[in-house]
């Protein structure tokens, strides 16, 4: 029986090394071929998970504790599918983008392959030290991608991102050290029951705080969001799309795993309420700041800061004693994760096309874009629909589930926050759309863009919309394991 698990990690690593050997800026076709094969493997793996349930895989045949164990369940399947479904159109988009604007490509292709390898390994990891290794690989690849643009702003943003991500990983590794020193194992399957049955020790609490703080830094939750807008707003559009859509979600996935699988006996409702409060602050503050921006890509980057806040609302909602409310909260959070990844990738891709055409990254210069690039503007609007939470998009399903959970759990404060967040998202999306329908600014000449640049973005936005119709399959996959 063919096992796709090792190939999901090996194939992007091999592609990365091969594309590195082909030289600067080349290797796009190889990455595209590799990514198509990986998408097929991911679909095979997802079907295996649905039919056979969650399972373990020992790399090289050596089991834990000396070997590395991998574990796939429903949530892993969703994350792997999301990664490849978002990455494939983005790779097509990136090939077209860098053929129109060759500067800033650098070693984009090898770094993207290493990024994908790190993410696949991260989603399948079953012990906390392997998670550390994949987190570092992910961080270094992401920093390399941000710095590829080369000018002073992106390089400073990349250094800031690197230092923040190293601080986060350092805190996480300290937590691993404390857990290993106290319990003698790093495997999640061993540590979980051990933490649940033995008496709660101060070392375990300290380890939990350190690991979660490190991961919160990497997920850019308010007030740790300061590194994200310069890094995502200053990078080339394909890089911003990859980072905002996928890399942030990887550390959030880890917070989800550790919170519910490992630290379940340790976490209190107060800690969950704190995370929810920070998420609410992120939604409000990020949306307000997004509205005040004058640069298009910075607006979309602040929108990421705001939408990440919705994900953290699921923690207080899941502490509710009513079982239906808690299940809706998890489903809503995961749907928000998937819908936002698709929509944000589409939005950054559309913003990239508009900036490429206008020549400068300024919202005030977008006048007349509606007649020049109608498909791209439509893509931006479709992505905005998911961010606002309008039916029938995937974002609407996510927010509906979260609001439903809040109402049945009796936590009304979060409902107000979510509705306010939706209104503020509408404000900044319509700010851009209104500007694009105004007559062109004097002296601006729009450059023509390749058709291939517009279609991948449109496909991503359409998928986020269609997610609203087919959310049942996603939620079924989540239920496995």
């Amino acid at each position: 029986m063919f096992d796709p698990i090792p190939w999901l990690i090996l194939l992007p690593l091999i592609c990365g090394c091969l594309t590195f050997l082909t030289g600067v800026g080349r290797g796009g076709r190889l990455v595209l071929a590799g990514l198509i094969i990986q998408l097929v493997l991911t679909i095979i793996l997802a079907r295996q998970i649905v039919m056979e349930g969650a399972r373990h895989y020992a790399v090289g045949g050596w089991g834990a504790p000396l070997g590395v164990d991998l574990y796939v369940d429903g949530l892993t399947g969703i994350m792997l599918l999301l990664t490849h479904v978002v990455a494939l159109p983005l790779v097509v988009y990136a090939r077209a983008y860098f053929s129109s604007q060759a500067e800033g490509v650098g070693y984009f292709w090898p770094l993207t392959c290493f990024l994908l390898a790190a993410m696949n390994a991260l989603f399948m990891s079953a012990d906390i030290f392997n998670i550390y290794v994949t987190l570092e690989l992910l961080g270094l690849a992401a920093v390399g991608l941000v710095a590829a643009a080369g000018s002073a702003g992106p390089v400073a943003a990349a250094i800031r991102y690197l230092l923040v991500t190293l601080l986060g990983s350092g805190a996480y590794l300290m937590g691993v050290a404390l857990l290993y020193g106290t319990y003698g194992s790093v495997s999640l399957t061993v540590l979980g029951p051990l933490l649940a049955t033995t008496e709660i020790s101060a070392a375990a609490c300290l380890a939990a705080m350190l690991m979660l703080a490190g991961l919160l830094l990497k997920t850019a939750l308010f007030p740790f969001h300061f590194w994200l807008p310069p890094a995502h707003g200053g990078a080339p559009a394909p890089v911003s799309a990859l980072l905002s859509a996928l890399v942030i979600k990887a550390s959030f996935y880890l917070i989800l795993r550790l919170w519910f699988d490992l630290f379940a006996p340790l976490v209190t409702t107060q800690a969950a309420q704190l995370l929810g409060g920070l998420g609410a602050a992120a939604i409000l503050w990020g949306s307000i700041l997004a509205f005040t921006q004058t640069r298009l890509k910075m607006l979309v980057a602040y929108s990421t800061v705001a939408q990440i806040g919705y994900l953290f609302l699921l923690f207080p909602l899941m502490t509710s004693a009513i079982p239906g409310a808690s299940e809706s909260a998890l489903q809503g959070g995961v749907m928000q994760l998937v819908a936002h990844a698709l929509a944000k990738a589409a939005m950054f891709a559309a913003a990239g096309v508009m900036v490429l055409s206008a020549g400068k990254d300024d919202i005030a210069l977008l006048g007349g874009m509606s007649s020049h690039l109608p498909l791209t503007l439509f893509t931006f609007a479709l992505a905005g629909i998911t961010l606002m939470g309008l039916p029938p998009s995937g974002g609407f399903i996510a927010k509906w589930l979260l609001i439903d959970s809040a109402v049945s759990g009796g936590q009304w404060g979060w409902v107000v926050v979510m509705i306010l967040g939706g209104l503020l998202s509408a404000a900044y999306v319509f700010k851009v759309l209104r500007q694009a329908f105004l007559p062109p600014v004097a002296g601006i000449k729009f450059k023509p863009v390749i058709r291939m640049l517009e279609w991948p973005a449109f496909l991503l936005a359409l998928t986020s919309l269609l997610l609203g119709f087919r959310s049942v399959e996603v939620l079924n996959l989540l239920g496995v394991g």
Binding site: P65, L66, F129, Y132, V133, E136, G139, L140, V143, G144, A147, G150, S151, A152, G153, V155, A156, A158, I159, R160, L162, L163, L166, L167, G170, A171, L173, M174, V176, A177, L178, Y180, G181, T182, G184, V186, F226, P229, P230, G233, I288, L289, T292, Q293, T294, R295, M298, Y302
Partner: protein, 109 residues
């Protein structure tokens, strides 16, 4: 206090000073040095706490070796980026932020 526990306490002290340096110092090279001190602190805790009954445990030592390799790679990347920033701006510090949250507060004045 056993020998192993002394290493672990020293590691904790190094970790805290490294984190403080990473956050507070403005000079980028010193931030990178602080990150390395933080890493050394974590490795000391890993080896110090990992000893059970005085016999050396190979698993945390393997983890520390992996950690050292990762730290070296990360330091190399950080130094390369700082050199590039120096050649572009002439300074080894983060440039002033005119946009983002800074603009929001400036516009309020």
């Amino acid at each position: 206090m056993s020998g192993a526990l002394i290493y672990a306490c020293a590691g904790a002290v190094l970790f805290v000073s490294g984190v403080a340096g990473l956050i507070l110092l403005p000079h980028l090279l010193r931030k990178i040095l602080a990150f390395n001190i933080m890493g050394s602190g974590v490795f000391l805790v890993l080896v110090g706490l990992g000893q059970r009954d005085g016999t050396p445990d190979p698993v945390p030592q393997a983890m520390v070796l992996t950690g050292i390799v990762v730290a070296v790679a990360a330091t190399a990347l950080a130094l390369a980026l700082v050199r590039r920033l120096l050649s572009l701006t002439g300074k080894i510090q983060f440039p002033e932020e005119p946009e983002g949250a800074g603009r929001f507060w400036k516009n309020k004045q």
